[in-house]
């Protein structure tokens, strides 16, 4: 009797573990695979200059390409920062300046998928952003900071210069979701620094 219940318990535990493993793995797989589909949507965007969805029922579309050669990062940025779009790629914050244009462009992504590399980013690193019109802009990392999630003064959009702000959750290795802190990388257009 006791043996039997132990058997059932072990079966339940093993199956739950498999489900959890698949669910956790799915998050990472989705993050990787989606970028492939988005890549083809992106080339469509560049060719036709129109919004193109990576898959027909998607609620988002690629708006920019983010490159950080130093960390071998080449990602497609999606419109919006809803849970749905962030699962597939970094999200562009609608309220911020358009990618590569004047003002502060804000891009957010998950700390354990696309923006894991932010923990290695240092001052002086170069980040390249391409917009849908094929315009490219190089930004140099100026400041790394940790802020409260409500401290949106950091999102100031009235900047006259060309700025790029990358945002992700902090601390990087935390296990639980929903912490208060955000890691913010601020970069300024290379032209404006040399000018």
């Amino acid at each position: 009797m006791k043996r039997r219940s132990v058997h059932y318990l072990s079966v339940v535990l093993l199956s739950v573990s498999i489900v959890l493993f698949m669910s956790g793995g799915y998050i990472h797989a989705k993050a990787q695979l989606a970028q492939w589909l988005i890549a083809s949507a992106w080339s469509q965007v560049i060719d036709s200059n129109e919004q193109a969805k990576p898959w027909p029922w998607a609620d988002t579309w690629p708006v920019a390409r983010l490159e950080v050669p130093k960390y071998e990062i080449d990602q497609y940025v999606l419109a919006g920062t809803t849970g749905e779009s962030l699962a597939f790629g970094p999200g562009y914050v609608f309220a911020s300046a358009a990618p590569t244009e004047q003002g502060n462009t804000i891009i957010a992504a998950h700390r354990d998928t696309h923006f894991e590399f932010l923990q290695d980013v240092q001052q002086g690193d170069v980040i390249t952003v391409h917009n849908a019109k094929g315009i490219q802009r190089d930004y140099i990392v100026q400041a790394l900071s940790i802020v409260d999630k409500q401290d949106v003064a950091w999102l100031d959009n009235e900047a006259f210069s060309h700025q790029l702000t990358l945002v992700t959750c902090y601390p990087f290795n935390a296990i639980s979701v929903g912490g208060r802190l955000r890691y913010v990388v601020r970069a300024v257009s290379m032209e404006e620094i040399s000018a």
Binding site: V6, H7, S10, V11, L14, S17, V19, L20, F21, S23, G24, I27, Q51, W57, A58, D59, V63, A79, G80, T82, G83, E84, L86, A87, G91, V93, F94, A95, A108, A109, H110, D112, T113, Q123, Q142, A143, S145, I146, V147, D148, Q150, D151, V152, A153, L155, D156, E158, V167, T168, C169, N173, A174, I175, S176, V177, G178, G179, R180, L181, E192
Partner: protein
């Protein structure tokens, strides 16, 4: 296996024991680790709450990782403190507000204070004075970049200086350079504002939602600062600003005497016999000067953490119907005219057609969808039997409750509630077809046609949508309701503007009822539309805003005029509930006020800022216009700042200046209310999976 059962058994049991121990130890270790991680993240989460306040009585008690780099090098920056003294003089419809911010530097280092604070969106900031001891230095208005240069130069030369900049129309920063050790500098800012009026209630709000926290290092939007600081030992660390709240509590709140505080006094001269005067959130004491005038002050000075609001009414419930203020300045006449539109007629008898559009795209998933559905259910209960209605839902496809709007009968309403219950958020956001469908559909009855649009507005093709609204609007009116914590406010406002309706936001489940109630109040009362000014042909009057928006229930008509010579009389024409409405106003008499020209200029700048945003490439001309008006009227705008500099240097250049920023929460209604959530549960799931897997395995082993 059968050949040596003894050995086999022995091997098996020792292997099992070994596994058991290693697993046990592993499990314990991972539990401890998990606990630690959870605790550390919880600690992060709580730092902002009051919980931590009594725990942290001195900085050395703070052991969390965020402060470690400071502790290591032994650098604690004692931040400047800020006391705010607010004096408000209300004169009829006008309010002159004087805000004195005293920056105190309790440290032994020279400091720069940077303070971000909210003001009402319509505030016209036109005055800056810096008080150092007995001396007063007047501020000058300058183009933004020039003002910044003047300030920077003074700062580097060791002179005391202050700078007021506009970050957003309702968000400003004060910077104060070279506050001497253990000394203070007072910055006095003055602004002009209009009292708000809704039906017979007058109100005035002073925002002071300040979460007392400090952001050392790089102030907002100040890139020079970064290069200035880098390479100066600890200054590199200042760039890595940890959450300001980690530093704030020990300095600010352990001792209530030293926290950021505000005091407020008001001289309320209503211009009519006052009835009730109430403060919405604070305790006040009143002194009655005469029937029309009261002196009001806060009973105690308060921690500056809650907005102040004063609401007053006329004694006999009969609020004044009109008001006129005039000013003669530099050869020109300015006038401010307020008229209360009629609000007696009720349209209970008039039928109307109400179309709800609900966004069921994937981005609405979760709480947004829940709020939208609650709002929709509430909206359905507000329909009257003579109304007709329909619901259109859209994501990447669209469908509707009925083919055509149907009367709000019990049966139809029940069907509608069921329909709403079944809505799920999924798929893309194809807004255009839904808008076209809602606006183009043939109207079934003769009354009003109102479209209520519930969405988070997460679209990138706003301009296309605006032109669809403009083209198809016809008799319909569009009311946008922004759902969720960060709706696309640009879309909400502009869509409602093009749709000649109004916009509102629902940010949480608790707000649904109240916000929908006020929306339906507007929907069920007639609107004053097509407001035009009829002025004698021989006088040229410049009026801002150029086009008067439709007025919904309780909203007063406010006109600001400028002319070489004001006409004796103006006629205001409009349409009120399908009937022509006319008001003749003689511009005779009225109060004299220095504020009128400032308010006129502020409204002109608002109007020009709208044009500036729309202009795109040709925006430079408009910018020049804005700068010229701002300079002429001494106003702080996006392109102009007030700067005050003392002539004598006080800080020896050899001594370093430390920059401390004092930040507060941006007011609700700013572009974003918080950063997005950016972590997935993947790690947690994988870890749990591993633990469960090992446990399951162990159980099976033991069984075997």
């Amino acid at each position: 296996m059968k050949t040596s059962p003894g050995l086999d058994h022995h091997l098996l049991s020792s292997l099992m024991n070994c596994m058991l121990y290693s697993w046990g130890i592993g499990f314990a270790v991972s539990l401890v680790l998990m606990g630690l991680v959870f605790m550390s993240t919880n600690a992060h989460a709580e730092i902002n709450d009051e919980l931590v306040l009594d725990k942290v009585t001195s900085l050395s008690d703070l052991q969390s990782g965020q402060l470690a780099f400071r502790a290591e090098k032994g650098h604690y920056l004692v931040s400047p403190k800020l006391n705010t003294e607010v004096d408000i003089e209300v004169n009829g419809l006008l309010a002159r507000v004087t805000v004195s911010q005293t920056f105190t530097n309790p440290s032994s280092l020279w400091q720069e204070g940077v303070y971000v604070f909210p003001l009402p969106e319509t505030a016209a900031v036109d005055h800056l004075r810096m008080k150092i001891g007995e001396r007063i230095i007047e501020g000058d208005i300058k183009p933004k970049t020039q003002a910044k240069k003047i300030y920077q130069q003074a700062k580097n030369e060791g002179k005391q200086a202050s700078l007021i900049e506009q970050q957003r129309p309702n968000m400003f920063t004060t910077s104060v350079a070279n506050i001497a050790p253990n000394d203070s500098i007072t910055v006095v800012i003055e602004y002009q504002q209009m009292v708000s009026q809704n039906a017979n209630k007058f109100s005035l709000r002073f925002p002071m939602a300040i979460t007392p926290r400090y952001i050392p290092g790089v102030p907002i939007d100040n890139t020079e600062e970064i290069s200035h600081f880098s390479g100066e030992g600890w200054a590199v660390n200042t760039d890595q600003v940890p959450d300001a709240s980690h530093i704030t509590p020990p300095i600010l709140l352990t001792d209530s005497d030293t926290s950021n505080r505000a005091n407020l006094s008001i001289l309320l001269a209503a211009g009519f016999a006052l009835g009730q005067v109430n403060s919405s959130y604070h305790q006040i004491e009143e002194v009655i000067v005469n029937d029309n005038t009261r002196k009001i002050r806060l009973i105690n000075d308060v921690p500056a953490n809650r907005d102040f609001e004063l609401v007053w009414q006329a004694n006999d419930q009969q609020a004044p119907q009109a008001a006129l203020f005039k000013q003669y300045k530099n050869g020109e006449d300015y006038a401010l005219l307020m008229i209360t539109p009629p609000n007696k007629l009720n349209i209970d008898s008039i039928s109307r057609e109400l179309i709800f559009i609900i966004d069921t795209s994937g981005s609405m998933d979760g709480t947004s969808m829940k709020q939208a559905k609650t709002a929709l259910h509430y909206g359905l209960t507000q329909l009257r039997p003579q109304d007709s209605f329909n619901i259109i839902r859209f994501s990447d496809d669209l469908d509707s409750l009925f083919k055509q709007a149907k009367v709000a009968s019990r049966i139809n309403l029940d069907t509608a509630h069921d329909y709403v219950n079944w809505l799920r958020a999924d798929g893309g956001t194809e807004m255009a077809p839904a808008l076209e469908r809602a606006l183009q559909a043939n109207q079934v009855n003769e009354g009003l046609r109102q479209v209520v649009f519930l969405t988070d507005g997460s679209v990138g093709n706003e301009d296309e949508l605006f032109s669809i609204i403009e083209r198809n609007l016809g008799k319909s009116r569009l009311f946008t309701v922004g759902i969720g914590s960060a709706p696309n406010s640009h879309f909400m406002q502009r869509a409602a503007l093009f749709g000649r309706g109004s916009h509102s936001y629902i940010g949480s489940e608790d707000e649904v009822r109240q916000k929908m109630q006020s929306l339906f109040n507007k929907l069920s009362h007639p609107v004053l539309t097509d407001i035009k000014l009829d002025i004698a042909a021989d006088s040229v009057v410049e009026m801002w805003p150029k086009v008067v928006a439709d007025l919904y229930l309780g909203e007063p008509l406010l006109l600001t005029l400028k002319s070489a010579t004001l006409p004796d009389e103006i006629i205001i024409n409009g349409v009120y509930g399908n009937q022509p409405w006319q008001k003749k106003v003689a511009l005779q008499g009225g109060g004299q006020s220095e504020a009128v020209s400032v308010l006129w200029a502020r409204r002109k700048i608002s109007g020009l800022m709208d044009e500036y945003r729309r202009a795109g490439e040709e925006s430079d001309l408009i910018k020049t216009d804005i700068v010229n008006i701002a300079l002429a009227h001494h106003l702080v705008t996006k392109f102009t700042s007030l700067v005050a500099v003392d002539k004598t240097p006080v800080r020896p250049v050899s001594e370093k200046l430390n920059t401390q920023a004092i930040a507060i929460n941006p007011p609700a209604g700013s572009v974003m209310t918080q950063f997005p959530q950016t972590a997935t549960p993947a790690t947690l799931q994988l870890l749990l999976s591993l633990i469960l897997f090992l446990t399951g395995l162990l159980l099976r082993w033991r069984r075997a």
